[in-house]
Symmetry: C2
Subunit: 108 residues, 2 copies
Amino acid sequence: MAASKKEQFDKEDIELAEFAKALSHPARVAIIKTLAKKNECVCGEIVEVLPLAQATVSQHLSELKKAGLIQGRVEGQNSCYCLDQKTFDKFIKAFSKFSEKIKSCDCR
Amino acid sequence: MAASKKEQFDKEDIELAEFAKALSHPARVAIIKTLAKKNECVCGEIVEVLPLAQATVSQHLSELKKAGLIQGRVEGQNSCYCLDQKTFDKFIKAFSKFSEKIKSCDCR
DNA sequence: TTAACTAATCGTATATTTGCGATATACAAT
DNA sequence: ATTGTATATCGCAAATATACGATTAGTTAA
């Protein structure tokens, strides 16, 4: 077994979980921070700052792209990445909605 | 191989990734929302609202506990869970620090 | 004490993720 | 045309996560 049951949950919960998953590896957090700092990076620059092989970084990049958090475009022989602000906004909104609920709860 | 390289990243990035990972399954998001709504739940109540077997829910609960996001105490023959506000505050702070960086970036 | 109940843990199957070398592709420079 | 460079993808191995039935341990009820 171990067939995923993820589809059986609330759409909202699935969405938040998917965003969270995109951030659930330090390499992906680091990639996003790097992009935020430089506004835009070619793949090679990202590979340089991470302790991972090129193939692995490429994989993390494509996961972030799949999640919609970054965009990539080809430029000559480079691949140029930047954040996708719009999706991030969605994520940030989803998360604050979630965290509002928590704040209003008074467990001791 | 595939030996984890997670330790080789920034402490801050690792921490945020770990929090994110705790939320990276819809069942865990749902558990937290349920606890936020009811303030406190016994395990059985949580099992009822999720489309998962008791053993699986117990596993998710222990992951959330490991991440510090919830607390559990035994009460008679029940296990009573509630959110851990303090850790959540840490998480929320870490995330807003992170998202500040993103907002200030102007990719088109 | 026995029976019923609650929840954690064990064992196991399967799925997914992580990581990398090797290769493929596409462009740039010579 | 050949060579070099950048990056994506393939194929694989190892690690981790997901899911659950069965069992265990503890608590309450009879």
